[in-house]
């Protein structure tokens, strides 16, 4: 491909990807309600969001769910990555194929399967079911991030530590975890973003008493124009963008 054509094509695709996002962000500062004309710069939609108790509760709920889900997923996922990397055990192939399957399963299938299992186990729909659901779809991302970092390790170091009498858990705390920390942190940030942005799984496993922000946005967008949605959307976009950039910088360091 000729370089001009190549750059032109890439530029075009990237422009198409980013223009809608840009238009949305600009409109969140547009004083004109319907976003048809530029009515001057304003923060009033952000203020409306700030002063809307229902929306703020939903935002706080979302934050709580995401922090709890990301943290639990990071603990379980990091341990699982260490296990898959370091140990031989019965059912290892089964475990890694479950990770693989849960990554590929369409979200809608995961959503209804979780809903069914919550009913079967008698877990009430609400905070707990949301957290369990979010941990489940974050888990494989943490495992893959930490596992690929561990693969780059020099295993001889661990063997040396063991020969010198270090216990398995002190090898983990003193060697593996410090070395894998950037990937662990990245795993947490990615899980947090995935959780904060999720619609499909949440739509199925949330209960009437526990509202979260993406679902609020979804129902607001469906009924029509409400400009504070632009403000909320912009905040959500900026939060994810910042976190993802940080996580990618963390993951890059060792390459």
């Amino acid at each position: 491909m000729a370089p001009i054509f190549r750059w032109g094509f890439m530029g075009l695709v990237l422009t198409m990807i980013y223009i809608p996002i840009l238009v949305l962000v600009v409109n969140s500062f547009n004083a004109s309600k319907y976003g048809i004309k530029w009515g001057g710069f304003t923060f009033k939609w952000y203020e409306k969001f700030w002063n809307n108790d229902g929306l703020m509760t939903a935002a706080l709920n979302s934050l709580t769910v995401s922090i709890v889900a990301a943290s639990v997923a990071t603990v379980i996922g990091t341990l699982a990555a260490v296990a898959l990397h370091r140990y031989q055990f019965k059912g290892k192939a089964l475990l890694s194929s479950m990770v693989f399957v849960s990554m590929l399963t369409p979200e809608i299938v995961m959503a209804i399967s979780l809903l069914i299992v919550f009913m079967a186990l008698g877990i009430k729909l609400g905070f707990v079911s949301l957290v369990i659901g979010h941990i489940t779809f974050c888990l494989p991302f943490v495992i893959v991030a930490v596992y690929s970092r561990l693969k780059g390790f020099d295993m001889k170091m661990l063997e040396a530590a063991r020969d010198l009498g270090a216990s398995e858990s002190s090898i983990f705390w003193k060697i593996i975890l410090p070395l894998a920390l950037p990937a662990v942190a990245a795993g947490w940030l990615l899980s947090f973003t995935l959780s904060l942005d999720d619609v499909i799984v949440s739509a199925f496993v949330t209960g009437p008493g526990y509202e979260i922000l993406p679902l609020k946005v979804y129902s607001m967008v469906r009924v029509g124009v409400s400009p504070e949605v632009n403000a909320i959307s912009t905040i959500l976009l900026v939060v994810s963008l910042v976190l993802v950039v940080i996580s990618q910088l963390l993951l890059r360091e060792d390459k």
């Binding site: 299938v109 399967s113 216990s167 199925f204 976190l243």
Partner: protein, 290 residues
Amino acid sequence: MKSSAGQFRFWAIGLASVWLTLFVFFPNLLVILTSFLTRDPQATVSLPINADSYVRTLDLLYLQVLWDSLRMSLLAMVFCLVVGYPFAMAIVSLPKRWQPVILFLVILPFWTNSLVRTYAIQFILGNQGVINKALLGLGFIDKPLQLLYTQFAVILGLCYILLPFMVLPLYSALEKLDVRLHHAAKDLGAGPLSRFWHITVPLTSPGIVAGCLMVLLPAMGMFYISDLLGGAKNLLLGNVIKTQFLHTRDWPFGSAFSVILIVLLGFMLWLYFRAARFVSKQGGLNGSDF
């Protein structure tokens, strides 16, 4: 000391195994089981076991929905492939230093809220949207085109959200391609098009299948894209499943549709492993071959 080593190992393996068994493996079995149960107004589902739900998916109305959903998702998939393949090729042909940057720019939106980005497309396609205003301003049209709430809008939205999933596997397949194969074919007189069809495409087929899988299956489930861009029509399988589960409360019927998705996933995985085996057999010029 032995026991503490055993304990750490126990928790490291145990936690994830239990979690995934309880919330991935077991639930998927329950979906399959539910699809064979009978709807029950009190207990949601009950015995007897039967295949009625599957028989009902063959109803003309639902076959139509299935077909529409599959067709739209397939169109989105093809469109993503047509844009994604040259895009991935363009990235691979860049200097090594630039490749991760462009790749990152494509993947970045994946991590942002896809509902919000779907909503953003409304600004572009609406009657008062960017496209219509530009076309009106330039005098190409007299009244706004109906772009929003059409099947076209849904397909476009699916492509917009799912393009990164296509580019990523294609990029890693293309990156592995051995340039020496191209040089050899060129020396033997093969033109660029023939090299593309006989070398590039077959050797990147696992990437192509993986990309298609990662676009097609999620596409069928994305109910909010069809809701926001297609109007209140049940255009995608995801909408049907959602209606069956959350409104009609016919879980066996909704499960049957999900099982169709799982079967499709299985089929595409089979296709992927076949393609991967083909490449590892026919891939030729690995370092070890010299």
